[in-house]
Subunit: 276 residues, 3 copies
């Protein structure tokens, strides 16, 4: 665990020192918040929608973020183009499978992604269960996606998360009251956050975007853990200062920015074996 | 009036207790604020743009919100698909006819909506007058739409609002210095808000989105009144705390979240007969 | 210089008194912030994406803003249509050439704009250098566009900015630690701002949008200077109040709103001859 904490500390430092460029194809509901969160932790953020721009950015950047919330028709061309470029160039990328199952284009691109093996998958419990189901990875149980909010507890997504991580060879982060991060071998339960995170739009999306910043400077498991830890820490701090979701939103960005490498690596977590 | 206040109180309670899922096809300029406002009053928010996702969400959700600001070409397919599904399933929905008259696609979908009879129509005075004109509902007077801001006082839209409500059988809310809400029989003038509401983008759009949350748990007139009352209350409170539009924005979301059912039902209003 | 300060003061007053309508075709990552900034300085903001709506708005408005960040396929039709209408009607407009060079559609529309001569061009140093290169305006040096952030200092863009201003006959504003504004004859270095402006998304985009508000009431050079001065002033003030980028964001909008005409015209600047 001390070794893991040191790696988390290093990822936090490296992100601030190297300002990794993270391109995104992400949704217009939360993209402002995603960009601001990425900037707050030390990254450089750029968002695009059309195929050739996403390929340019995948090549130019240090990591990439794909979030399928609020998709537009052009994503049918953009997303296949960008994942092919990411594979070709070996760049790390994060997938947020928002509201998987809601329509045919979303299902089609998420199905395609199975063979491209995202470096990190970030979702709520219902989305993680549903994605493992879509990819036919073992007995992952029935999902209960309802709009963009989870109706399953994080614990219900444990075996789906482990199955996904074993398939991709990367990491999976499940967001909820207690967050779960796994690389298919270990399962970390990370503590913190605030009840206000469910009362603002984009808490989950921006966590995916921040994980992409860390994926530019650390291995998938450490990157997912570092993103989860800074969210737990900043969420806890902002929650103690906020009078409601508006002030939580403001304090949360401040606390992401102010979080020291020690604050992040000292965020409490438990580590367990990933018996499926 | 006491009966109406009790219904408003109940709608506020029910929204917080049942967390209704409200899907939206709404504009990318204000969608973050719309979602945050819907979450603050107790709803669950989801925004989509493409036809099959909007149909899924219309079926899965408890109410729907359509806002024609900042439209994209795909709306030509999405909006007819979603209103057909809403009619078929009998789900309540709110229409915000932003900047009616600015172009052919917006005019075409707003014309189509006449026969689908939105449960609640929410607009500024100029938009309400222009929509009644587009739908050829009586002598509704000349509109003065200029961009997205109203150039008419709320009182000038009274007969247009009543005509629209009589046509739809639902409710119409006109936003301005004093807000007007009508079901075609009664006209309520609701008091509160802040001059800062004109200095932030999305005050009107998000009121429409919040009305959709209440439309999931109350009849159209009560839903429109509850949304208007919580906006008047939270706007007044936030206005007294704000140093400018940035802090108003923050305090407004906090006050939406903190508003009790009594705060909302006790917001001052006058009720009159809707002699056209 | 006193004459210039008086013109800046007058532009600030006129924007608040006349509430100019500024239409925009701008990106969905920062459009909320652009609109809120335009409202804060006294303008009326409206954003559209499709061709006929952009033409309507170009005709109805007092000035226009085009920002090519986060473009969608429909921009291939929208942007040529809007610049033709702007030329035909002689309306002032501001161009923000975000991430010039990232893809073929962006390059194609930015190339087209050369002959339409934007009233004001606003960019970071890398973008200004790259645009002058794209338009083949003299020995403007090599650009280093990397995503949306500049990798060149403002001083490196001086000759490119002067060349662009001489070509358009308008003004060019280069944003950075010290901002540079030129009309091709004089070069103004404007002081202020905050290191937090790089830590929020949309500082540059919204400066372009605010320049369009002032372009509706002043000549191009004065409009660019007034926008730059209010950003320097509000940035300095907000930076002194902020605990991080979240609170900076809030205070910045408050300070844009609160800035008096004297605050704006008294922001410190140096004026030099534009020897290329």
């Amino acid at each position: 665990m001390d070794q893991l904490k040191e790696k988390i500390r290093q990822a936090a430092v490296d992100a601030r020192n190297t300002k990794p460029l993270v391109g995104s194809v992400t949704n217009t509901i939360t993209n402002t918040f995603v960009a601001n969160a990425q900037l707050a932790v030390g990254g450089s953020a750029a968002m695009v929608f059309v195929p050739d721009e996403s390929e340019s950015l995948a090549r130019a950047g240090n990591a990439f973020y794909i979030n399928v919330g609020g998709i537009f028709p052009v994503y049918a061309e953009t997303l296949p183009a960008v994942v092919r470029t990411l594979k070709e160039t070996g760049k790390p990328w994060v997938l947020d499978p928002v509201a998987v199952g809601i329509g045919s284009l979303r299902t089609s691109v998420l199905s395609l992604f199975k063979d491209f093996k995202p470096t990190i998958i970030r979702g709520n419990a219902s989305e993680i269960i549903a994605l493992a189901g879509l990819w036919e990875l073992g007995e992952s149980g029935a999902s209960h996606v309802r709009g963009v909010d989870s109706v399953d507890p994080v614990s219900a997504a444990r075996s789906a998360a482990v199955a996904l991580a074993r398939w991709t060879g990367g990491a999976v982060a499940v967001s909820g009251a207690t967050d779960l991060v796994t690389d298919g071998t270990s399962v970390v339960l990370s503590h913190g956050g605030s009840h206000f995170m469910e009362k603002i739009t984009g808490a989950g999306c921006s966590l995916g975007g921040v994980a992409a910043v860390y994926a530019a400077v650390a291995d998938p498991f450490v990157a997912a853990l570092t993103a989860t830890a800074i969210y737990n820490h900043a969420g806890r701090r902002a929650g103690s200062l906020a009078a409601g979701p508006g002030s939580f939103n403001m304090h949360f960005l401040d606390e992401l920015y102010k979080a020291s490498a020690d604050d992040i690596s000292n965020n409490p977590f438990d580590i367990e074996e990933a018996t499926k």
